[in-house]
């Protein structure tokens, strides 16, 4: 099994994992200081008869230091995080050339509306698939999430992307795949008894493979009225 994050397959991967590692290092240092400190103090200052503890109500200088350092660190972390946050989820973050995908989600199924050869959603050549999403490699994709009944959440671990789909709201999320292959989409928000069964797959194609897939979809045998 993997003891680490899943492999990266989107442009968000390096940023999020980098931030994760940065936080892991910072918190790791704090963790070591606290845990080692606790054990060390516990051993070093264990009670011995006839001895009295050092009588002090505190050392202001020390307190200022351990207030200031965490404060500066977390504010810096916040600023760095915000930079990426705006890039990933900001209102204007969706790249203009992103391929639109309509996602209609209900208990307990995903329905992905792909634009047909014309590249537009909402036209007659749209391709609707149950629990299958087909996208292009290295092309930004924007999913327009619409929930029919309850809250669901669109989650692709390898893409490091997650977004709730809330009934009554139109929410978009974008990502850009950087590796071909097949990945799993999960529902990350409790949506009822079939929550665990909301597994879907996303296929990342090279342009040629994507074209082939689209041609295959256009053949009449698969057409649905």
């Amino acid at each position: 099994m993997s003891w680490w994050l899943p492999r990266q397959a989107s442009t968000f991967g390096p940023a999020i994992d980098g931030l994760f590692i940065a936080i892991l290092i910072i918190t790791g240092i704090a963790f070591v200081i606290v845990e080692v400190g606790l054990v060390w103090f516990a051993i070093k200052y264990r009670g011995r008869p006839g001895r009295k503890a050092f009588y002090t109500h505190g050392v202001t200088k020390a307190e200022v230091i351990w207030t200031a350092i965490p404060a500066v660190t977390v504010v810096a972390l916040g600023l760095v995080s915000n930079h990426y946050w705006v890039e990933m989820k900001g209102r204007n973050s969706v790249p203009p050339d992103a391929m639109p995908i309509g996602v209609h989600v209900k208990q307990f199924e995903w329905s992905f509306m792909h634009p047909g050869p014309d590249g537009q959603l909402g036209t007659a050549d749209d391709i609707k698939l149950r629990n299958q999403l087909h996208i292009l490699l290295n092309r930004p994709v924007v999913v327009h999430l619409e929930a029919e009944d309850v809250i669901h959440s669109f989650f692709v671990p390898e893409f490091r992307v997650k977004q709730d789909a809330v009934p009554g709201m139109h929410i978009s999320a974008w990502f850009q795949a950087t590796d071909t292959g097949e990945y799993e989409i999960g529902c990350a928000e409790l949506c009822g008894m079939g929550h665990y069964k909301m597994r879907a797959r996303v296929f990342v194609h090279t342009p040629e493979a994507f074209q082939a897939w689209m041609t295959q979809q256009a053949t009449p045998t698969e057409a649905t009225p």
Partner: protein, 587 residues
């Protein structure tokens, strides 16, 4: 109320013998009410634990018949196999019972009740009868919640956070009466908490013994006082939200129904506006009591008393501004996400202050490793992990990945179990003599602590790893996902450790129960502490003091050079001490 006028001077006089019912059941004595809360919430802790065991069975061994599952009705299991809808019920009710009926009443119901009057030197709560009502309302709420298991379709099934619209529509959740009982129970619980809180607040403000100035109050009282303010202001919001949810389910209103213009996110905003202060309700009292225990165990004054107080106030204040960090992925305005991220990051600062100050307290101490101290040190170590893992979620981009995964489950259990519950093991052992006049067994207490510490970490630390692997919360069967299948051995390992962890708690239960009757008689001040409560006999009589004691100093005067012993009780008058102003002729 003229009778009050007549009796007022004699208020402290010990009440005569009363009937069993008045003394133990419909008691207005804050200590008895605290003990009632203790037994009731320990029962619900057991219920929550049993639910957790079933969750772990399903996660460790998905689709296999659960041992003993056959006795559960058809609506829960099929041939012993847990059904998906029952699994959702399990996670919902485990969260609900643990948060609302175990940890919260254990910390607030038990210790705010038991400790505040004893530690500030009051005869009782300001409003003893309201206090009694608060207990009975809480019990009613718990029983209503418990009744959910026995109605058709079973208890609520929408997660303990009850996200609408799943919770609002029985056709979508599959549970009808259970959902309504949940709302009803929460409304009762809210009322109970408000009545409790107003009692605690009034008592702390107005009923402190002479000389017990604000900054001579023990940190436990400070924490419980601030917690009471949080509860007072947060619970009405939850009650209001639960009322609206109940109306959506019964009267056909449309608060959370998007089809008629209602808003699904409104529930989340209301819930977390309550919910984040609630998170601090669940940890601040633990922090306060741990502060008391660590100072006592280190035989040294608490390090930075004032900054500890300000940290409590700071956490409580910031706690109102961070609720949105539960909703980063909910589709709310990303600008709000940035704001909430900064406020969330800032709340790490007072938490860090507290951890370092506890370490500072141990520094150059003369540490006595009694069972409460062990648990308190365990609390600091585990709370630090829980606090640090919180930084990951606070960073919004990282939260995009780990939101609603097992990383969160690990984080919240490090705070709630590693934090609050360890503090409670310590607190129960520490104030057991005061409650029952007996002491708990030291050796078994230590065995329980070490076993719990080991297995607790074996259960919850791996959850970070499977969360990093991407396992979502509340999945009935994670093996359905190819990318989660390799993690299944880890899930199995966690489950086995969880069963052992549960079994280890039997030691604590026996240590607690058997010593009620067969325990060693407690000395007057078993921990050689400075607190006011230890000047009273164990257990203390109804009314506590003949007249409130005079207080001459803060609660943490350990190792004081003024006296040869290493502790100096708050009530002990040294030749240099002046009588407190309030004790004199009055205003």
């Amino acid at each position: 109320m003229t009778s009050v006028a007549a009796h007022a001077p004699a208020h402290g006089v010990h009440h005569g013998p009363t009937s069993f019912w008045r003394k133990y059941i419909f008691s207005t004595d804050h200590k008895i009410i605290g003990i009632q809360f203790l037994f009731v919430s320990l029962f619900f802790l057991l219920v929550g634990g049993l639910l957790a065991m079933q969750i772990r069975w399903q996660l460790g061994f998905p689709g296999k018949p659960m041992p003993g599952g056959g006795i559960l009705p058809e609506s829960m299991t099929a041939g012993g196999v847990i059904l998906p809808e029952y699994y959702i019920t399990l996670v919902t009710m485990h969260g609900t019972f643990m948060v609302f009926f175990a940890i919260m009443p254990l910390l607030v119901g038990v210790y705010a009740n038991f400790l505040i009057p004893l530690k500030v030197g009051a005869h009782d709560m300001a409003f003893p009868r309201i206090n009694m009502a608060s207990f009975w309302l809480a019990l009613t709420a718990g029983l209503i919640m418990f009744a959910g298991f026995f109605v058709p379709e079973g208890a609520a099934r929408a997660g303990w956070t009850m996200y609408a619209p799943l919770s609002a529509r029985p056709d979508l959740s599959g549970s009808n009466i259970g959902q309504k009982l949940w709302c009803l129970s929460i409304i009762f619980l809210g009322l109970s908490s408000i009545l409790g809180s107003l009692n605690y607040i009034t008592t702390v403000i107005n009923n402190r013994a002479p000389g017990m100035t604000w900054f001579r109050m023990p940190l436990s009282v400070w924490a419980l006082f601030i917690t009471a303010i949080l509860g007072l202001l947060a619970l009405p919001v939850l009650s209001g939200a639960a009322i609206m949810l109940l109306f959506d389910q019964t009267l056909g209103t449309h608060f959370f129904d998007p089809a008629a213009g209602g808003q699904a996110l409104l529930w989340q905003h209301l819930f977390w506006f309550f919910g984040h202060p609630e998170v601090y309700i669940l940890i601040l009292p633990a922090m306060g009591m741990v502060s008391d225990i660590i100072a006592n165990g280190s035989r040294k004054p608490i390090f930075g008393y004032h900054s500890m107080v300000f940290a409590i106030v700071g956490i409580a204040f910031l706690g109102w501004m961070v609720w949105g960090h539960h909703m980063f992925m909910s589709g709310m305005n990303p600008m709000l996400g940035s704001t909430f991220m900064v406020s969330t990051m800032l709340i790490a600062v007072p938490s860090a202050i507290k951890v370092f100050n506890w370490m500072g307290t141990m520094w150059r101490g003369n540490i006595r490793f009694h069972v409460p101290m062990l648990n308190a040190i365990g609390f600091v170590g585990m709370f630090a992990i829980g606090g640090l893992s919180g930084v990951f979620m606070a960073a919004t981009p990282v939260d995009m990945f780990i939101h609603d995964t097992y990383f969160i489950v690990a984080h919240l259990h490090y705070v709630l179990f590693g934090g609050s519950l360890f503090a409670l093991f310590g607190a129960i052992t520490y104030w057991y003599p005061k409650m029952f006049g007996k002491v708990m067994n030291e050796r078994w207490g230590k065995i329980h602590f070490w076993l719990t510490m080991v297995f607790y970490n074996l259960v919850f630390f791996p959850m970070h790893i499977i969360g990093m692997g991407g396992q979502m919360r509340r999945l009935y069967d994670p093996t359905i996902y190819t990318f989660l299948k390799p993690q299944q051995p880890m899930n199995e390992f966690i489950s086995i450790c969880a069963f052992i962890l549960f079994a280890v708690q039997i030691i604590f239960a026996l240590n607690f129960l058997l010593n009620l009757k067969w325990g060693k008689k407690a000395p007057q001040n078993p921990w050689e502490d400075n607190g006011l409560e230890w000047t009273l006999p164990n257990p203390a009589p109804h009314g506590n003091w003949e007249r409130p004691p005079n207080v001459y100093r803060g609660p943490y005067e350990f190792a004081s050079p003024q006296v040869p012993e290493d502790y100096l009780p708050q009530t002990r008058k040294l030749p240099t001490d002046r009588e407190p102003a309030a004790a004199g002729t009055g205003h």
